[in-house]
Structures are given as C-alpha cells and as structure tokens.
Symmetry: C2
Subunit: 446 residues, 2 copies
Amino acid sequence: MTIDLLVHNCSVLVRGDDGVYSTLPNHDIHITGGRISAIAPTQPVAQLDARAVVAADGLLATPGLINTHAHTPMVLFRGIAEDVSVNRWFNEFIWPVESNLTAEDVYWGMLLGLVEMIEAGVTTVADHYFFMDEAARAVSEAGARALLGWAVFASQGYAALDATAAWVERWQGGAGGRIRTWMAPHAPYTCDDDFLRATVAHARRLGVGIHIHAAEDPAQTASSLAKRGVTPIQVLEQTGILELPTLIAHGCGILPEDVELLRAYGGHVGVAHCPKTYLKLASGLTPIRPLQGAGVAIGLGSDGAASNNTLNIWESLRLMALTQKFTANDPEVMPLHAALDIAFTGSATAIGMAGALGRLAPGYLADIALIDLSGAHNQPLHSIPAALVYSMQAADVRTVIVDGKVVMQDRTLRTLDKAEIIAQVNRSMARLAQRVPERRIQVYNP
Amino acid sequence: MTIDLLVHNCSVLVRGDDGVYSTLPNHDIHITGGRISAIAPTQPVAQLDARAVVAADGLLATPGLINTHAHTPMVLFRGIAEDVSVNRWFNEFIWPVESNLTAEDVYWGMLLGLVEMIEAGVTTVADHYFFMDEAARAVSEAGARALLGWAVFASQGYAALDATAAWVERWQGGAGGRIRTWMAPHAPYTCDDDFLRATVAHARRLGVGIHIHAAEDPAQTASSLAKRGVTPIQVLEQTGILELPTLIAHGCGILPEDVELLRAYGGHVGVAHCPKTYLKLASGLTPIRPLQGAGVAIGLGSDGAASNNTLNIWESLRLMALTQKFTANDPEVMPLHAALDIAFTGSATAIGMAGALGRLAPGYLADIALIDLSGAHNQPLHSIPAALVYSMQAADVRTVIVDGKVVMQDRTLRTLDKAEIIAQVNRSMARLAQRVPERRIQVYNP
C-alpha cells in the first residue's frame, strides 16, 4: 500500500488497553488517506513506497492534543481583564469589549489562536464563539481539526438560534471532514428552558450534539437552586439536552446528586476541564474523579485566553494533575498515566471522537505531535510520562501533523503566515480594548 | 565613562517605589564593572563608548530571576519518584538514590541544572545540597550567581558540620564575588538543638546566614508539637537561628503564632516558596500574605527537580499567583504587580541581596534576562505584566546576562557545553537510579 506520509524513526507513545502508556523506540508511522495505516519498526525509507517523509529521529510522537473547550478568538483579549472577580470579568471587561468584535476580527483572532495551538501540538479544538463562518474559514485554512459551535443567548431571539442551526448544517463535514459542528447555546443562565428545548429540536433534526456551559462554579449552582429549585445539570436533563451528545464546559459547580443524575447519560456526555481558568477566577474545580466514576468522560480545555491567557493544553494537563493531588491532599491521586489518559482518550471521548482521535494506532486519524525531549529541562529522561506531564514546554513540540498533513515542521508553520496574522491582530488592538459597559453583549447575573 | 557592555534598544521593566512595574520602551542599559551604570533612551551605538554591545531590539529586559531554594543537582533524579507520598518519596526513592551520588555526579548535575536555569532566565540560585565544592566549581564555570549551602544532618556528626563551615569560609566571595556561602543544616527534624546551636556558632563566627528547611508541611509542625511541644519555627528561635540572616525553605506548616513570632525577625528572615512541589506532594501552601504582613520576605523557589521536575521560576511565579487566588477563593488576591514583586524584590530580599539584585536600576548588579514576547502565545500584548505572569514560556528568554557578562545569547550558551553535560549525565543515569532502601542516607520520620 502506498504511504502518503511516512513519519520516520520516532519513538511512539502508545496506550495499552489497561490505560498504561509506553513508548516504542525507533518506529515508523505510516499514514494513508489521513489515517494511521501502520506503526512498525523503522525500515529504510527506500524499502517503503512513501510519497513524503518526515524525519523524526530522536522525537517522540504523541497523539495531537485536543482542546475540548475554547473561545479561540478571545486571544484578541489576552491580558485585558486581570485580577478581577467573575462578575467584573464579565460585566466590566469581557462582555463590553466583545461588543467591539467584527466578523473579520474573529477570523484573525481564530487564526492567531490556531497558530498558538499548532505550535503547542494542539490539533483539535472544540470552539464556542461568535461569527463562526469566519472561525470555520480559519480552521479550514490552518489545516486544523475542530468541533465548532456558534454561541447564542436567548436574548438574541429564535431567529438567531435558527441561524446558528443553519450554520451547523452549512459547515458540517467542512474542510474535507476536519470540521464538525454542534449547537452551542451559551448556558442555562442565559438561555431559558424553551430556548434550550428549541435548541434540542434543532440538534435532533441535524443529528448533532450540544456544547454548553453549565454549573461553571458553585455560585451558579447555588443561584440556580435559589431561583428555580433545580441545578444547572438538572436543567440540562429537563430540557432534553442530556439525551444528545453533550459537552459541558467546566462543571465546577456539579453537585454529588448531579453526578448521580449524569450516570445515566455517561456514555455520551463529557465535561471539559479548564483548570487554569478555575485557579485564576477561583471557581473551584470540576469533580473529575466522581464524574469518571459515573462514566462521564473528562476532557482537557483551555477556555478563552482572556481567562487562561494561553491555549496551552500541556499546561492544562499539568495543572489538572497538580490540583487533583493538592485538593485531594494525596500525592498518589491522578498518577501520570491517568492524567495522560484524560488528555488523550478522555478528551477524544468528550468531543464524541473516541476511536478516531487521541491514540496512535492503526485506523486512527493521523493527528500527531512530534516532541523533542532532549532539552536540558527534560533531561535525564528517567520517565517519558513524567516529562510530558511535569517538565516539557509547549515549545518542545517540533512538528505537527493533522489529518495526515504536516501543518508545522521543525517549528515552521506550513499553512499560515504568522507574521501577517500577528500584524493584523495588532492593528485592531486599541479598537478592541475600548470598554463601554453600556455596550456589553449581555449582563452576568446567573 | 566606558561602558563594558551596552544592552541596546530594549524595553526595560522598571519598578516604581510603589511596587508597580512599568516598561521603558527603546532604552539602553549601560553596564560598567558588573553593575548597571545607567538606563537611558536609546542612543546610536557610535555615540557611546561601549566595549561590547548586545542588540536587544524588540526584547524586554527584566531582572534575572532568583531561585531562592533548590537542590540543583537533583535534576539527576528528575522523574524518578512520581505519584508517591512524602514518606515514600524520601524513604523509598530519594534518600536511597542519593546514596549513589559521587562528587563528580554533583558537578555534572549542577551544570545541567544551571543550563536549565540560564535557559529560563534564572541568574541566581540559593542551593542546598552535598559535595558543594563541585557545585561551586560548576557555578563558577557557568558564570551564574549563587548563594550556596552544604546540607548536613546531625547524624553525620560535628566533624561533618565543621567541614561545611570550612567550606563556607573557602568559597565565600568565590567566582569573582558571584558565590556567597551560608551554613545549611538540613532541618529541625534531622538536626537536634545542640547541632543547630553549633551551626549558629559557626555562622556567627563566619558572619553568614543559615538556609534551612522548616515547617515544610502541616504534618511536620503537628509532629514537632506532639513530640516536643514546640513548632519547628520555635525551634529556630530557641536555637538562635532566627537572630541571624535566615532563609527558611517552604514553611507550609507555619502557624499563625509562628507568623507572630517571626514578626520580630522579619528584617532578616525570608521564606522560599516552591508551589509546584507543594501541589505535587500535597503539602499545603506557605502562608504568604500573613508572612508578608509580618515583614517576612517571600522568595520564589523551585525546590529540587525530583519533586518540581523543572527549575523554572517563571512557572513558580505563575503557580504562586494562581494558587493564591484559588485558595483565597478571591481572584483579586495576588495581583500581577504583587506577584512580580515577589519574584524580583521578594526573592532578592529573602537571600539577603535587597538593593543589589531583583531590580533594573543604576547601582544594581547587572543580572538581566532579555525576553521575546512576540510569540503567538503572548500576542497581542495588552499587558506585559500579564504576559510575564500568565502566558510566557521559559523558552521565550533569548539572552541572559550575569554580573555584566553574557552567559546565553539568542539561546546559545556562552559558558557551558550543553551537549557534553547532557551526555555525561546520561552516562550515570542507570547507576544513579538504583534503589537500595538500606543504603538510604537518612530516614524520614519527622
């Protein structure tokens, strides 16, 4: 069989069926038709029928990382709202400045965020934002993979909801199959139950899932209980959302009874965990281990760069492992392999791509990061899993492949013009930073 | 005045007397005799009498970072003890493998750690380890700055203590003044009171301070109270340590009454805060804000790479800010400028170098990191302090100057042979990883 792309002589991070990761040194990865067709001991290139070769001597191949919850174009607002409460973050900073956004801004912001993610080995993003035609166009041009949703508030009305559904249809399977689209109502506190039910009707009709913020922090759950007598997760159940593939962002306010409720839906519900935002905004933490115990997939996310300040999923992985140990008061909690398995298998499952992403094995989509662990900060390499979780930097990612195509080689982007993107973003900086509270797109009062 | 080294056309991060940081764009830093002699708007090089020039267009100059608590040669054990309790970490992993160490191992391990730190813009390290003649030799060759202490346990006897005191005298002011030496008894739970008093006598005679682990976690404090009726901090007071310049490592078990006790010594006592280790080993956190309220300087440290996995003080800074917000349940706690001021002023004060390190201003020692914030993960640059605390990577550090000498230029080390160091370290890996519990250097039973 002709090999479209041969990744030659790398170490390959593979997952045992017991969830333990190991490495196969000096192996080739054969890619055909955008998928991994074989992983085999290194052979001379001349003996293989390969159309293209990436030399990967000394590099570690891992599955491309998956960012299960981002508002990628918010890189435009990186550093704009620091050291403020969640209320002020929304009402005085983010929702006012988001009123400045144009479709063109989102296009350039999405490109900038995709540059940052590709440079960090993040090959797939589950994005939740506005002006998503432009976001999809950016994903298409970048060569990345994405699960996109067009965020919508009930205050925008049903015509806006219908428009997001039409967009879901328009972009489903776009960019040669690299783009999938879901419905993306903002949250139970900004979308009333009828609006959520209408969203479910659209999603059922279109055969797609729903990506939604819910129970983002304990205060939101308390407020929902006080105002309506139900938790945000109960709202998701009552409005029919949980019957569909559902990606819940954050869930730091998920209660033990919510975990029990979710047990019935575990096979198709995931929760995106974005620990850097939670630390910075003091939101508590997603109850990862109880949710896993109920069969709910946990994925890693960045959230937007206006709270995280980066889109670095390696950092999310590290912070998840560290905070799980710290808050459990037990250093044996969230061991290396469990943490890696959330980053890879958990994240793929959370976005409905189990069996297709998150693992280097024949039949899986060829989304691969090639990492250089030879730097002083990773040496000596007593443990590759420990290096991945606790010492590597995003800058150690050398080469990135998505869908069998090289999008970055030896830190040079193959698909995007980084200098032009950064120049474009800098041109809009001052305009986007203007804050007129009266012009905010929404009021935060969950 | 002749300029020995001209850092040409950078942005300079400067501290206002109110502790607020700002940047001076397009400025030159003049260095003469190892100190900053002027910071002035950029002038043509030809108009200045400069012996050497570092072009720094587009780069941000910050004070070199200070690692206030490390066991640098423990990079040799990076990744060797993962996901284990503190007890097992010491008794089954670290203290057994440390019995394998030779003086030559420490030399190469120190060099490797210095490479990692220089590459991250860390110019000074307060190190606490064994075979410190070799560690000092490595610092001297690297061109770094250090406050070194030769760690000693009471079980080694008074002759060993005397030998560490002789070493303090031998290396004081070494490497052209870049090396300072202090006494370094391991901890109150491994050094009895008489041993600590004998250490104080040496320190007084030599005119030096003491670097010691104390109240590392709440369990140590509880154990000390149960066994002896006093806290570890009270032991430091009763043995006379606190009358001398003292650098306390960790202090996560410092009680409110300890904070009150320390108030009397605040002017010359600092606490090294190493948050990554505390998260990973679930040790609690140093009570930073109460200690600051009592006038005790807080510095940032890495601890050893066997617990931290890196020696990256930018990461310590980020984790400090994030965990302070998270544990206070208040995102307004530890704002950007306060966090930066701990990294720079706090750390310099904690190691007894206030007024000499931690600030870019005339008269200060010329220890400088030149950072490139033009990467996609830092753009757009709405806030330089936010980029330093929350988005930059250590790999963004381009050029590093210590004592007015360039030790890394555009990521190429000027003083050390990285490839040779990594090769040497890899040669000893298997031998150093052998774990024979009976050969451990000490038993952990605080």
